[in-house]
Every structure is written in structure tokens, then in C-alpha cells.
Amino acid sequence: MLKDQQGTQIMAPIFSDFLDEPGMPKIINMFLDEIPKRIAALELFFNEDNKDEFCKMIHQLKGAGGGYGFPMITRMASGIEKKFRVPKKEWKQEVQKNLEDFISTLHRIHAGKDISGDT
């Protein structure tokens, strides 16, 4: 854990593996720009018990995360996806902990935005 000037613990940002690859910084930044919107949507679907939309978004992040240089997103989203197989009523309980960790990781990825730059 890193600490800010006031001594508060902050989580280390995560950077994309593909920042040096042609054309990638531009779309990585677009991806990072959309992270807050995606976090809000995930929380909304979860709170509204909208399993279909929630699953769809997790599935999309699983497919795209690694492609944008964030294999951790793919791994974590895949872990959440496995929990969807439980009976419908219990899915939220099953997913809750993983979702918190996942959102926290998405925040760390978003924090990496300013440093990634564009070329």
C-alpha cells in the first residue's frame, strides 16, 4: 500500500501491459475514461438485482480486460462469472465479496490513467 501526503493509505495504480504498443494508448485511455461509468452501472445492476445485465457487463470486462493489458480484470471477472452458476436467489451473496475486490481493482486501474498518457 502507498500513502498520500496526509498518510492515508492509497492503493497502487495498475498500468496496462500494452502502453508501448501501436495504437493502444488511445483506446486504453478511452477504456479508463469509461471505468467510473462501468463501476456505477455494475453497482446499480447489483443493487437492483438485475442479474442479466450484471452478468453481461462482467462478461464484457472479462473478454476485454486482458486485451487492454489488464489481465487481472479478466481473472477477477472470470472468478465472478463462475459464481453465477449458483441458484438465482443466492447469486448476490456469492458475488458480493468478489465484486467489492473487483471494483477496488477497477479503481486502481482508473488511477493509472494520468500516467499512461497518449501518443
Binding site: 504498443e21 477504456f31 462478461h59 486482458g66
Partner: protein, 347 residues
């Protein structure tokens, strides 16, 4: 005759904008034109309109899923031969099996490696290119390089339908080499082959829109889209003269001539079929042969009777009915019948 090698088209069908952006970036620099569709319905319509060489298809699409979409593509003769590569986050072996069994040629799992993606797409495009070459080969005449009879038949159906849809004329020219058997007998078959090749070269060297085919033996077919019989006759006449003036190496005094028969779609209305056009062009060709060869003859379909002649026929018909009902006619008829009966009795 083979077409140029155009830039291949790849269509990505995926409901995730993230994947579209990634594909666009990762496939940049590849010799291909990337198109995208964000749903199965849009994808199916785009596939039909665009006829891409390769489709990159997601499985988990809303509404019609990727497997169902692939089935639809395979049902349609227009999209059946498009190579489909599934791109999916699914790690289920049964999904791969199902996709491949349905006719997909490959399966890429997301997140994909950029180099692997490019290599797989290139490989699919290569296979498609070879398939197209094979298909084209099957439609070309081995000796002359012109389209063959099979292609001619397909193209006639297509061009007639286009002509009807856009209400534009279409001409068909049949060309036959005069006394070709005699040429073969006199100068040998290798020379006969060179005559066919040279004439094919002239026939295919006309306007780019014209479709020259070897119809069979020493007979050629020329489909002339958007051309009426007058313009078509001019085209045929130019070709006839060009063929007549060929100087044959080793036989400078020899003059090889051709006869042409032409017809067009005008005056046929919606009843026109490839068979009727062929029949008419063939009759015109026969007329050219009968009239001494080395000439162009055109066919005009028999027009249905004019309004005036129809009116005369109708009046005549009514008159006959009236006459048959008259007493004079019946008396005459009775007399004839009695005479016949009397003659029968005498026998």
C-alpha cells in the same frame, strides 16, 4: 478474365464496443477492410449486403446468439461461404465443438493475443482467397480463359433479373466461327485451338461491362448489359470486322470469319427468360449462316397482334357465330348431311 485481388472485407459482430475498438486497433496495418455490427440482426443484414470474406463473431449476442446467427448464415446461399471465426470469452470446450460443427473455421478466445489474432485472420483470408480461385477456375474455360457455359447460364439469370428490376435493356450475342471444322481439317487442331484463343481474346477485349463466354465448341456468347439491339449490333459488327482482319501467322492469306446472332430483352416484357433469349439469338445466328455467313443478324420477337387486327378477328368470329345460327346455313347443312347419308346407303 480473373478479377483483380481486391482488399478483403472482415466483419466483426459483437455487442461490446470494447471489443470493436480493440479489433480495430489490433488489425490496423493488415491488408483488410474492417466493418462492425453491434447486434446479431445488424450483423446478419451487413453480412448479406457486404458479403465479407471473414466474419469475427461473438457467441453471447443478445436475441439471436452467435450459434443461431451462424446457422442463418449457412442457410443462405449468399452468405454460406463466408469464413466465420468465433471470438468469445467462453472457455467451454463444448462451445468450441458446437461452433466448429456448425461450420465455423476457427475459434479465438478473449482476451486474445494480438499476433495470434492477426495470424488467424490472415490464415482465414488466405483460405478464402484460394477457395475463390478454385471457384473461379471451375467457371473458366481452360483453353480460352473466357467464362465457361456454367458461368454463362448463371450470369444470364442474374443479368435478366437485373435488367427487369432496373427496366434497362440487355442484349445477348451468339458468335460462331464459320467453317471451323474445315479449318481444323485443313490446318490441324493446334491451329484450330489458336484460332479459338485469338477470337476469344478479341471478344473479351471489348467494353468492361460485357461478359464474354465460351458457349461450347466454336460458339461464344456475349452478354451485353444495358445495351439495346441497335448498340449491340454495332458491338457485334465491330467484333466481326476485327476477327475478319486478323492476320494468321504462317497463313497470311487465310481469312477466318464469324457469324453473329443478336437479340435483346425489349419487346419481351416480364416473360423473358434465358431460354427465350438464347432461342432468339440462335435463330438470328442461323439466319446469318443461311444468308452466307460472316455477318450479324438480329432477332425481333413476334409481336402480339395489333389492336386493329384483334378487332377484325373479333368481328369475323361474331359473324361466324351469327351465320351458324341462320336458317340458310342450317338448311344447307341439312342438305349436305342428307347427301352424305344417301352416299353411305349406296355403298
Amino acid at each position: 478474365m480473373a478479377e483483380e485481388n481486391p482488399i478483403p472485407r472482415v466483419l466483426a459482430i459483437d455487442d461490446s464496443e470494447l471489443i470493436h475498438r480493440l479489433l480495430e486497433t489490433r488489425l490496423q496495418g493488415e491488408r483488410l477492410e474492417l466493418h462492425s455490427a453491434s447486434s446479431s440482426e445488424k450483423g446478419l443484414n451487413k453480412a448479406r449486403a457486404l458479403k465479407p470474406e471473414v466474419i469475427l463473431l461473438d457467441i453471447g449476442l443478445d436475441g439471436m446468439n452467435g450459434f443461431e446467427l451462424l446457422e442463418k448464415l449457412k442457410e443462405d446461399s449468399e452468405t454460406r461461404n463466408i469464413a466465420v471465426i468465433f471470438i468469445s470469452g467462453s472457455n467451454e470446450p463444448m462451445d468450441r465443438v458446437k461452433g466448429l460443427d456448425l461450420g465455423a473455421i476457427d475459434f479465438i478466445t478473449t482476451p486474445f493475443d494480438a499476433f495470434e489474432l492477426k495470424a488467424r485472420v490472415r490464415s482465414a483470408l488466405r483460405t478464402q482467397h484460394l477457395m475463390k480461385l478454385l471457384e473461379q477456375r471451375a467457371q473458366l474455360d481452360g483453353l480460352t480463359g473466357l467464362w465457361n457455359r456454367r458461368y454463362f447460364d448463371q450470369r444470364m439469370i442474374q443479368e435478366i433479373s437485373e435488367a427487369k428490376r432496373h427496366s434497362r435493356p440487355l442484349s445477348l450475342v451468339l458468335c460462331d466461327i464459320d467453317r471451323f471444322k474445315r479449318l481444323n481439317d485443313q490446318f490441324g487442331h493446334p491451329f484450330g485451338d489458336s484460332v479459338l484463343e485469338k477470337i476469344a481474346q478479341i471478344l473479351s477485349g471489348g467494353r468492361t461491362s460485357d461478359i464474354a463466354c465460351r458457349y461450347g465448341g466454336e460458339e461464344f456468347g456475349l452478354i451485353l448489359p444495358s445495351t439495346n439491339i441497335e448498340s449491340g449490333t454495332e458491338v457485334a459488327e465491330r467484333l466481326r470486322m476485327a476477327i475478319e482482319s486478323i492476320v494468321w501467322p504462317g497463313n497470311p492469306d487465310l481469312v477466318v470469319t464469324t457469324s453473329f446472332g443478336i437479340c435483346d430483352t425489349e419487346n419481351f416484357g416480364d416473360d423473358i427468360t434465358p431460354e427465350t433469349m438464347l432461342k432468339n439469338a440462335d435463330s438470328a445466328l442461323y439466319k446469318a449462316k443461311e444468308a452466307g455467313r460472316n455477318r450479324v443478324e438480329s432477332a425481333h420477337p413476334k409481336k402480339s397482334g395489333s389492336k386493329r387486327s384483334k378487332k377484325i378477328l373479333r368481328t369475323l368470329f361474331l359473324f361466324c357465330i351469327e351465320f351458324m345460327q341462320s336458317k340458310t346455313f342450317q338448311r344447307t347443312l341439312n342438305r349436305w348431311l342428307k347427301k352424305i347419308q344417301f352416299r353411305e346407303c349406296l355403298r
